[in-house]
Symmetry: C2
Subunit: 562 residues, 2 copies
């Protein structure tokens, strides 16, 4: 029946819509007289569309106002339908037209085309919602990633990686999640549904399954302890200013049922914090157990099937408040009374409190929670930890302990989060259940926190040597000097164009953070020497030395000994 | 006129074809009864399509055979048209169905669906044409990238990075290139044309322009010396086995007219070779000057406009032979006689030979070439270098020196390549011409070469310690030991699940490449000691020590001194 319906759809569409479009536009391009008119994305009447979007937005706002006055004025479905319409309209908006100024510039550029074909500036910003890393940004990123990697090394986790492009199916399989609507997905030229990965866990699961036999035995040494630093993507049209990509430090342990796996991951997170100067006064880690919550909710009549979607809703408690959460829970088939009990249960702030508030809690799960806190204490990071029954995490696949790290000042979003997901591999087709636990730790919020706490060091450009030929005929000799110093491990910025004045060389050397300038000039060269000046040494008498060519490789000790 | 034509095209198409398709398929999915049937890429009759592809392939083969027997049997255009048809057919093929076994499995899975909904295995391979990096692959990649980065550091190049997703326009602007047809491009959900970057140079140019004032002055210290290790993507439907992604070491110098910029880049390449054990006997670097070639071709009546496309064609000389190149040159409006002269000129294997074969060569360009070879000699890598007039590189944007590194055994494709592209920034809208030179060095061919030459080291998993609790009550103490050792910089694999026998711990430790096992057991613990065994020490009497807890941080010296 599905295939029939698909065929119906396909009859209405070009067989390969993108190819047809590209081809059609190609033809247009060929027909045009100018060589510079390149095929473009479909043009839309931006002004008309903007007006439509505005009017649709007004409509929704008035509906919502009406509902506030009288809850039965409109059904949720009615409003949802209008919101969907709004989204569709926004989807038609060309990505760049949101920035009005840019749009105008482009328009202006077009008018000038007759004069200066092809001379208009290409977009100099990266694709919307993404970041370039200029060298100074890259030094900061390398510093942060260096800490991530060093912590992972000390915990004996092995690095892995996978293509940023993933099978869309991995994410569709984990149904009921917001993430599938926010994916940077597309159908490739061969008709295959792919996406820029929104998160790394499904990829990890895929790779583990790739090394698992038919009968469900992994071919790897268990436990698998892996880490990665993937760039993850999402597509959001609505919220301006939110990024569409971030990097995320991932650490996962596969094959361990014991809570000590969680303890290790939390130890890695707190080890990282300690390395960069963040203390338990700055951040805390909220911990909960979905297993325990599920048992309590089950005693309230929430089925296993309902549990994951209930968690996804309850996760929004902070954002949308108890009233909205109750509404959404009712939509999931939860009675209003039970919704109230759930929200009350979520207020527990200690394992003991939870036991008294809620009946029917899974004893094994409670025991696990207590053990987790005891082991964290033993490892030495107990002061970071607190129980919080409201933390359930937004992802449907968690099955046990979940945790979330937060900034105690309350200014920032969650710093990192994770938990146990023992059933993801079964959902993906594994014949055996494979216990898994992991976390994701983004690169953006932590950098904001470090900045806020003034814990970010400076990242200046640093160079050991600038090597400069005194004149054109000295250039080959300067190249020899550069080669020798590099062979000896120095960072050497070779001056590739002659400067008119020596002063320019020193200016340049100061700007690129060089410690030494090696000036290759005829007088010294004839004595097999190179004049080297230490730019950071105050003592004007000692800061310059003539070094024999065959001693250049000892540059560290020569200058270290002065 | 173009806008009118575009509107014509759009009338024939859904306004947003992908959105329309997705929406339509969503509806189909809602109509279906099973919760597990997720929207899929359009279904096609794979068997019928395969038959069609086969028959079309046969047709082309017979046409080609006919041409071999009688060159005028079919025109090139006729065959090309049939090849295009074949490509189109192949494009309709679902990405995964090429692998017959998989297809069958999937089919089988579908039939079993009624029994075990959603239990069929997800795709465990990465997206077609891409690579996963399991830890052992990642160690090899990190080793290679470590050399790339270390060389770049010694040359004082700064690292930069940018999103893998780029504006399609960057590549469309550089018209006349094969790359635009092979792009992994798509229109995003907001209607914006993006692509997974096929190469890094346009991104570099974009970033430089992003730091350039209206009047064309850069805000950065010149020269800019940057490097990056981007993953680059292409989309090819036809050639099975060819990868759709690779990593590419890029080094670029911006703002330098002098040939010494090229000399520095070639020095970096050869420094890398030397580090990994590749000599001038293994590889060579072919160098040519497009400036010189342009001057010679100009004297043959080839216009500046024709020059870049002529280079793109001539670059295929090795692949398609002189006859085909002549045909394609004639198609570009070059006379058959001139085509012959061009091909003859390409045979020059020294600067001197070129001067005698071809008249009208640009003297400044010839001088530059001679200087380049002299400076390479001075730096110390002259033996890698050779002139080769047939090297023009396939990219349209090169304007001066071009080079290509090849394996002397002739078994592998080009190892790296690059050159000068002084006009790319102007093409992108810069008001001033900005001299640029750079190279790209892929990660695949070099690894093949290193393997071929047996120069790849082993990359075993290595760990300092496995820390194991003797019993459950020792677990908190074992965690303390792990924390102490990690604080002291050790790589510590904490045993997160109790083993029944100590032997299992040692087995595990051996498999993960651990040097020491720290066994946390009651007898020693009561004396504030931990028993540590050195697994790599032969001497059975000396390979075990009880170390006081407060001395654990001295682990390196304790064992170093035995």
């Amino acid at each position: 029946r599905i295939e029939l319906a698909v065929n119906e759809v396909l009859k209405l569409m070009p067989e390969n819509p993108m190819a047809a479009l590209a081809e059609a536009l190609q033809r247009v391009s060929i027909n045009s007289s100018s060589e510079d008119s390149k095929p473009q994305a479909p043009q839309v009447d931006v002004a008309a569309l903007e007006a439509e979007i505005k009017s649709q937005g007004d409509k929704i706002r008035s509906m919502k106002d009406a509902v506030k006055a009288n809850p039965s004025a409109f059904a949720k479905e009615e409003i949802d339908a209008e919101v969907a319409k709004l989204k569709e309209l926004k989807g038609k908006m060309p990505a760049n037209s949101s920035d009005k100024e840019k749009g105008d510039k482009k328009e202006k550029g077009k008018k000038e085309k007759d004069d200066k074909a092809s001379k208009h500036l290409i977009p100099v910003e990266p694709v919307m919602g993404t970041r370039d890393f200029y060298p100074e940004d890259m030094r900061a990123r390398n510093w942060l990633f260096g800490h991530f990697k060093e912590v992972a090394r000390r915990f004996a986790f092995q690095e892995y990686d996978a293509p940023v492009l993933e099978h869309e199916e991995l994410y569709k399989r984990k149904a009921g999640e917001e993430i599938t609507q926010q994916m940077y997905n597309f159908v490739d030229k061969s008709g295959y549904a792919v996406t820029l990965r929104p998160e790394m866990t499904p990829t990890l699961a895929r790779m583990i399954l790739g090394r698992t036999t038919e009968s469900g035995e992994t071919k790897m040494i268990l436990p698998v302890k892996w880490f990665s630093l993937p760039q993850c993507w999402r597509f959001e049209t609505t919220q301006r200013g939110r990024k569409r990509e971030h990097y995320q430090w991932n650490m996962d342990i596969v094959g361990v049922k014991s809570i000590t796996a969680e303890v290790e991951l939390l130890a890695a997170i707190t080890t990282f914090f300690t390395r960069v100067g963040i203390t338990a006064k700055d951040v805390g880690i909220k911990v909960n157990s979905r297993k325990v919550m599920a048992s309590i909710l089950k005693s309230q009549g929430i089925s296993d099937q309902q549990f994951a979607p209930v968690c996804v809703v309850v996760d929004k408690l902070d954002k949308i408040g108890p009233e909205e959460v109750t509404k959404e829970l009712v939509q999931l088939g939860v009675s209003e009374k039970t919704a109230g009990t759930i929200i009350k249960t979520m207020s527990a702030r200690s394992v003991e409190e939870l036991s008294t508030i809620a009946e029917g809690a899974d004893q094994e799960g409670l025991e696990e929670l207590k053990e987790l806190f005891a082991q964290a204490e033993a490892y030495g990071y107990g002061d970071f930890m607190q129980f919080d029954a409201s933390v359930v995490r937004g992802l449907a696949y968690y099955t046990g302990i979940v945790f979330e790290c937060f900034d105690r000042s309350g200014e920032l979003r969650a710093i990192c989060g994770g938990g146990r997901y023992d059933r993801l591999l079964s959902l993906y087709g594994s014949k055996q259940e494979v216990p898994c636990v992991g976390f994701g730790f983004g690169d953006c919020v932590i950098m904001e926190l470090l900045q806020m706490k003034k814990l970010l060091p400076d990242f200046p450009q640093l160079t050991d040597f600038v090597v400069a030929p005194f004149s054109k005929d000295m250039l080959p000799n300067a190249l020899k000097v550069a080669a020798k110093l590099r062979e000896a491990g120095a960072t050497v910025d070779m001056q590739v164009e002659l400067k008119k004045k020596v002063g320019q060389t020193f200016d340049y050397a100061n700007r690129v953070g060089a410690q030494y300038v090696a000036l290759v000039a005829p007088d010294e060269w004839n004595k097999n020497m190179v004049r080297v000046k230490d730019l950071r040494m105050e003592d004007k008498d000692a800061n310059q030395k003539d070094i024999p060519l065959d001693k250049l490789h000892e540059w560290r000790t020569i200058f270290g000994s002065t």
